[in-house]
């Protein structure tokens, strides 16, 4: 059964190739269903492989399948091979599982878009790259997937590239990720230089015993790569802008799967971090500070997707906190539950945007509970999960992380708890603004663009029943002139994934219940061995910490309810401009990096290029010319002077030979 592992990435690849050739002919919605079917098949294959792996005993749960030799150059040998172990199969399962649901949702969401088939081409290519990333058995193949998902992320953020903001957001994501990729590449050079192989199993075994400075350098460089991909300080700036992409993309790539690649990489290299404890502490602090930093920004955003984007950064920060604390199983646990509830929240937000006719400003929503019952019910499940209310999944995973953080350092735990408070606060704020309160879309002035109104044709519903116009994603053009529109529930093809994800978000905690024998941790244990932190706290302390986390979550929710439901404090007071503008970090980068960079380039173009580069070329030419005009004097044309020169030369050589021989 394990031999089927190559099918897991091969199926989305097939989907990609078929859609690339025949996507237009298949059209809307068949292209989408084909892509979804490929993902579903990949998920089923992953389940089969999972059971195959279950059939083996603890330490024997490692299986390598080599397809062919990729690079063979001297002592440098890289195979295209898959490493099946509890970690990679867990990743593959949730990537394909959540991916299938989001693909299905996207069939409804993207319905009517001109580039519908192309969207699924990219989506399947993304799934293939992501699966290569997690299943590969060496750093280089992971890097291939790493770059593949980066490229797909770029394509999909800029999917509506006729919007200037989407085009520039794509570029921003790509360039920011380049910085991280640089770290990844240098780390690979260093690994190969140190242990002479890039295959995970031998390389990690050797690196576990490497000198601390080598392990530290490799760990830091790989963390730089992870920070770029997983949007950690200071490289997080691309993720909020990435919300320009279609909402299924935000859910799949920028919340559930791709952005967790950095966490996966850190978990994969756990022996390196075990050998470099100071790097681990550093990662924990970067993670927890990112979590806090992003959570503060999320408290003041008005765009429904921006809140979720900053929330994603914050939750990724938690995962890095777990990694830095040595709680690798908790990191994966939170990654999986986060994939469930954040995909749910994003898809719910997409459904809201869809139902509100491309409105994204939460301040123009409200009271949608009545109009969109399924969306609001599932969104509320997601809200309870992320806020950390038991028994929903987020509580268990977050509590697991906080417990391990407390064991490492109470300071880390305190910052993490403060972040949990903010998380509950901003999510409650979002839920209240969107689903409760007055129906502000009735009164709020909408920007009118009459010229473009009715530009979008009406589409046939894709699934039975409900009306759908998912293709009209241009907020100005869509329904700008409809003064008295009504929000509507999304078609069933979009609500079914929401319901499934809501069930998963509610019950995801079962994967690793602390009093249920922590099955996920037990399952992953062979991958980590002694590098996994063993929490020494007693059961009582654990209970106190869990209660504190719960109380914090409730407190955060109540504060938000006081402000946004009962209006005890003016909203403007708790949404300072500096938070709305995300601590002015973009402006800071603009001033400190973009402007000097531009000035430097200007200087290089106008001064350095003109004077030094051109000067060097012209200088060589005029040097030769001047030298030639001096030397032409020698060429007198008098035969006898040439003869004299020959004679003098001969004498000189003879004299030299004589002097030397003396």
């Amino acid at each position: 059964m394990l031999e089927a592992v190559w099918l897991i990435p091969a199926l989305p690849l097939t989907g990609f190739l078929v859609l690339l050739v025949a996507g237009k002919r298949l059209g809307d919605p068949r292209a989408g269903f084909l892509a979804t079917a490929m993902m579903g098949a990949a998920f089923l294959t992953a389940v089969i492989v999972f059971f195959g792996l279950m059939g083996r005993e603890g330490e024997e749960r490692v299986f390598t399948q080599t397809l062919f030799t990729w690079i063979n150059s001297g002592s440098f040998h890289v195979d295209v091979a898959f490493l099946v172990d509890p970690l990679s199969i867990t990743m593959a399962l949730f990537v394909t599982g959540v991916g299938t649901l989001i693909h299905l949702y996207a069939v409804g969401y993207m319905h009517g878009d001109e580039k519908f088939p192309k969207f699924f081409v990219y989506l399947n290519l993304f799934a293939f790259s992501m699966l290569m990333l997690v299943m590969s058995n060496n750093f280089l193949l992971t890097f291939l997937g790493w770059e593949g998902v980066g490229a797909c992320s770029y394509f999909l953020i800029s999917f509506w590239f006729d919007r200037p903001t989407a085009a520039s957001a794509g570029k921003k994501a790509f360039i920011t990720n380049r910085i991280g990729d640089f770290g990844f590449m240098v780390a690979m050079f260093l690994i190969f230089g140190t242990v002479g192989t890039l295959d995970y199993v031998p390389a990690l075994a050797a690196l576990g015993n490497a000198p601390e400075y080598t392990a530290s350098a490799i760990g830091l460089l790989l963390f730089l790569g992870a920070a770029g991909k997983s949007a950690q300080l200071p490289l997080y700036v691309w993720l909020p802008d990435a919300m320009e992409g279609p909402t299924p993309v935000s859910a799949l790539i920028h919340a559930a799967t791709m952005v967790t690649a950095g966490v996966f990489l850190m978990v994969r290299i756990n022996p390196v971090l075990g050998a470099a404890p100071e790097v681990a502490t550093f990662i924990a602090w970067v993670g927890v500070l990112t979590a806090l930093f992003a959570a503060t920004i999320a408290c003041a955003q008005d765009d429904i997707k921006k809140v979720l984007a900053y929330s994603t950064i914050s939750q990724l920060g938690y995962m890095f906190l777990a990694v830095g604390s040595g709680a690798y199983a908790a990191a994966i646990f939170h990654m999986v539950t986060h994939a469930f509830f954040k995909a749910l929240l994003f898809l719910g937000a997409g459904s809201v945007i869809h139902g509100m006719h491309d409105e994204q400003d939460m301040k123009r929503m409200g009271g949608l509970r009545k109009w969109m019952p399924v969306t609001s019910a599932t969104f509320i499940v997601g809200w309870l999960a992320i806020a950390g209310v038991p028994p929903f999944s987020g509580f268990w995973s977050k509590d697991d992380i906080l417990l391990n953080a407390f064991d490492k350092s109470p300071a880390l735990w305190a910052v993490g708890l403060l972040t949990a408070l903010l998380t509950a606060y901003y999510m409650t704020r979002q839920v209240i603004l969107v689903f409760y309160g007055p129906e502000k879309w009735k009164t709020a002035a909408r920007p009118e663009t009459p010229a473009e109104a009715h530009a979008e044709p009406e589409h046939e519903p894709v699934a039975a029943g409900a009306h759908s116009d998912g293709g009209s994603h241009d907020p100005a053009a869509a329904h700008g002139a409809h003064g008295d529109f009504k929000p509507h529930e999304s078609p069933r093809i979009m609500t079914i994934p929401l319901v499934i994800l809501a069930v998963l978000a509610a019950l995801g905690g079962l994967l690793n219940l602390p009093f249920g024998g922590t099955p996920l941790e037990h399952w992953l244990e062979p991958v980590f061995g002694h590098n996994l932190r063993q929490v020494a706290s007693s059961g009582g302390a654990k209970l106190v910490l869990a209660t504190l986390a719960f109380v914090t979550a409730v407190l955060g929710g109540m504060v938000a309810a006081t402000i946004y439901r009962r209006h005890r404090i003016a909203e403007e007071k708790v949404e300072p401009r500096i938070l709305q503008r995300a601590w002015l970090v973009d402006e800071l980068y603009q001033k400190t990096i973009a402007h000097p960079g531009r000035a430097l380039s200007q200087w290089l173009a106008s001064v350095f290029d003109a004077k030094v580069i051109d000067g060097a070329v012209n200088g060589v030419a005029s040097l030769v010319r001047a030298g030639g005009s001096r030397l032409r004097v020698v060429q007198s044309g008098f035969v006898r002077s040439y003869a004299l020169a020959v004679a003098v030369g001969a004498v000189a050589i003879l004299a030299f030979a004589l002097v030397r021989s003396l």
Binding site: L631, Q635, G637, F638, V639, R640, A643, L644, A647
Partner: protein, 101 residues
């Protein structure tokens, strides 16, 4: 009486110097040409001398090569000189400086 080898070498050196000085001081192309021949044959003489002194056939072999090359060179050189005489009267080397840089 056996003539010592050094005498031959001295003669060859004298001939070579006469040829070299002649090449440098005379302006007539034909005479310069003869001086070159003189130098070549001076060298030939040293080759032969050494061949006898060292009892090595290599030196005499080299002389044959030099003679053959010199003959070829004479053909070319005289051809050039004749073509110069066709274009102008007299043959003064310093007047023929078309290749001045």
């Amino acid at each position: 009486m056996k003539v010592p080898g050094a005498w031959y070498l001295a003669l060859a050196a004298a001939l070579f110097c006469i040829g070299a000085v002649g090449l440098l001081v005379r302006r007539n192309v034909l005479v310069m040409f003869m001086c070159v021949e003189l130098m070549l044959n001076a060298v030939n003489l040293t080759f032969v001398t050494f061949a006898r002194m060292l009892d090595d056939i290599g030196g005499q072999t080299a002389v044959f090569f030099v003679l053959v090359v010199a003959a070829a060179e004479v053909v070319v050189g005289l051809g050039i000189i004749v073509s110069i005489f066709r274009r102008r009267a007299g043959a003064t080397a310093d007047d023929i400086s078309f290749l001045k840089g």
